[in-house]
């Protein structure tokens, strides 16, 4: 059983508290993606789980065993580093067999497991090379291979694909997904790349300055962000926000523009809110709110517009090659179910009162 439970975990470096009370339960075989802006503490959390850093307070349980105070080697976790950390003076074979050799496994067993992992990752012809003689993608595979030969309770990945080019990243993403389906181990995966998080994870955990903002299935988070931060963080280009007051089922901005209120306005008359709509939720219409097109960016299949509405820039993503010219007026609307309202002060999601 390889579950993981974190209870009120805190970590300070000197005076600054970096992790401010993390609670997280990860089920057996689950793939959890940790996302959040740079510096929010993702790596720190991962390093605490690995035992590379000691928690200031809180509890960490892996596979039912309290490991809060145990050194890394007694936790049975494997970690894939962003820079791979392959030992430059060892061949691929010795790199991959390193942990087994440390544990005193027999030569034949090491050889068998390394060959097995190399087969899975397509590294069989590279086993006698040194890391310096490999391409970025191959190094990444070796780093992954070094983790899987151990068959650990828990896999930790810290932005493993961020050093690869876009194309290779997509390919390796698919490989990691296949690997997870095949091995079925519990994995925790830190990434900056939302698409990576959305496609790989069973569950996404969004962090922000040392706290968990929201966790849940990728599409749930996308469709129902618990606060403006999560709404703005997930999705690219990110969600548009415009401040206004709820008045008569609509959101009225300071300069008097009227935006559709959506499903959540009920019972909140007069409240100051952040009106949120994803760029792809906004569609041209004959009736609705209007704005001035400022920039037109065709991206191939889509067209991205920058429209000024109520004095604020609004990004609109059109799923077609709509002809549009800067300086033109455009009328748009958003389907009520795709409008998000957040409290203007603390950013939490507003739902309709019955």
């Amino acid at each position: 059983m390889s579950t993981m439970n974190i209870e009120n975990l805190r970590k300070s470096f000197g005076e600054t508290e970096i992790l401010r009370g993390i609670d997280l339960d990860v089920g057996d075989g689950e793939f959890v993606a940790l996302v959040g802006p740079s510096g929010c503490g993702k790596s720190t959390l991962l390093r605490l789980i690995a035992g590379l850093e000691v928690a200031t307070s809180g509890r960490l349980v892996i596979g039912g065993r309290d490991v809060t105070a145990l050194p890394p080697k007694e936790r049975d976790v494997a970690m894939v580093f962003q820079n791979y950390a392959l030992y430059p003076h060892m061949t691929v074979r010795s790199n991959m067999g390193f942990s087994l050799k440390l544990r005193g496994a027999e030569k034949a067993e090491i050889e068998r497991k390394v060959t097995e992992a190399a087969d899975v990752l397509g590294l069989d012809t590279l086993l006698d090379r040194y890391p310096g003689q490999l391409s970025g993608g191959q190094r990444q595979r070796v780093a992954t291979g070094r983790a899987i030969v151990r068959d650990p309770k828990l896999f930790l990945f810290d932005e493993p694909l961020s050093n690869l080019d876009a194309k290779l990243r997509v390919q390796m993403r698919t490989e990691i997904k296949a690997l997870h389906q095949r091995l079925g181990n519990t994995m925790i995966y830190v990434t900056h790349d939302q698409i990576e998080a959305m496609t790989l994870a069973d569950r996404i955990v969004v962090m922000h300055s040392g706290r968990i903002e929201q966790e849940g299935a990728p599409l749930d988070l996308y469709d129902r962000p618990a606060n403006a931060f999560v709404g703005g963080f997930l999705g690219s280009p990110s969600m548009n926000f415009i401040k206004g007051h709820i008045r008569g089922g609509s959101v009225v901005t300071d300069d008097g523009s009227v935006l559709p209120g959506g499903e959540a306005v009920g019972g909140h008359e007069g409240r100051t809110v952040l009106w949120g709509a994803r760029p792809e939720s906004i569609v041209p219409a004959t009736e609705g709110f209007s704005g001035m097109i400022e920039v037109v960016e065709p991206t191939g299949p889509d067209t991205q517009l920058l429209v000024r509405v109520a004095g604020q820039p609004l990004v609109v993503l059109l799923r077609s090659r709509t002809p549009a010219t800067p300086g033109e007026k455009i009328t748009m609307t958003v389907s009520p179910s795709e409008i998000h309202l957040f409290d203007a002060d603390h950013g939490s999601r507003i739902e309709a009162k019955p």
Binding site: P72, K73, A85
Partner: protein
């Protein structure tokens, strides 16, 4: 830069100056080497009228070397070699461990301690000779190999070099190994040390040369002829009444030649680390 290389006059000037410099550096050494091959009587004879014969002896002889072989100089070479090699072996282990601790661990008083290490190699040796001698005497080590070796093992400069190198190894290496279950000693011997051979070469050389060239401390700590080292043996050729110039030149020459052997062996690494400041 480019233009400078293309201009033939600048190039000529450059190589002209370099040649003069090289000549100035090599000249006394060449004179020393050739003088050691002269018969005793002829050594200073041609110096006053500077010319061809200032450098080139009329007759080559190995008499000076033969005499040296019969003296206690071979014992001094043996002593020096033993002392220097032992210092290198222990010195690398001890100083690398210390450097590793400074690079990899956080502990209380680390910065102060490191400052002391740096101060230790800024301090002139003469300043600590007396207290050191008192200590060695108290240990009962006067006139022994320990007296010559032990004080030279820990070396602030070498600790500094190792610390710089180990700190330049990405922490990820250490951490990956720790997650994989390695102890710190294992990480030190299997990951940190194998990566640091340029620093090992440099440090080994520094330790070797400092022992090979040491004179003052051996005179103080081990005056017994049984423990005479090379520099001490060379100095014995000089005294107030009359100096054995032939023996002096021959022994100096040998000391230089033997001292360059380790340098030639590891020269490739040595140059590289000094240039790159110990990184990779």
């Amino acid at each position: 830069m480019e233009a400078q290389f293309k201009n033939p006059h600048a190039l000529m000037l450059r190589y002209g100056l370099l040649s003069i410099l090289a000549f100035i550096v090599v000249c006394p050494l060449a004179w020393l080497a050739l003088a050691s091959l002269r018969p005793q009587s002829e050594i200073f004879q041609p110096v006053s009228e500077f010319g061809w014969s200032t450098f080139f002896p009329s007759r080559l002889t190995f008499d000076n070397y033969r005499a040296l072989w019969a003296s206690d100089f071979p014992l001094a070479v043996k002593n020096s070699t033993f002392v220097a090699v032992t210092t290198v072996i222990f010195g690398i282990v001890v100083n690398a461990l210390a450097g590793f601790a400074f690079a990899a661990f956080d502990f209380r008083g680390k910065n102060l301690l490191f400052l002391l290490v740096i101060a230790s190699f800024m301090m002139p040796f003469e300043a600590i000779v007396l207290p050191l001698y008192v200590m060695i005497r108290a240990f009962g080590w006067a006139n022994s190999y320990q007296a010559l070796i032990v004080p030279e093992i820990a070396n602030g400069m070498v600790i500094f070099l190792f610390r710089q190198f180990f700190a330049s190894i990405p922490r990820d290496f250490y951490e990956a190994a720790r997650v994989d279950g390695a102890s710190w000693l294992y990480i030190f011997t299997r990951i940190a040390m194998p990566l640091s051979w340029p620093t090992i070469a440099t440090s080994g050389l520094m330790l070797f040369l400092s022992q090979w060239d040491s004179f003052f401390w051996p005179v103080v700590a081990a005056s017994n002829p049984d423990y005479a080292v090379v520099q001490v043996a060379i100095a014995r050729n000089i005294n107030f009444e009359q100096s054995d110039w032939g023996g002096l030149f021959a022994s100096t020459n040998l000391a230089i030649l033997l001292g360059t052997i380790p340098f030639l062996l590891v020269q490739r690494f040595y140059v590289r680390t000094l240039i790159s400041g110990g990184i990779k």
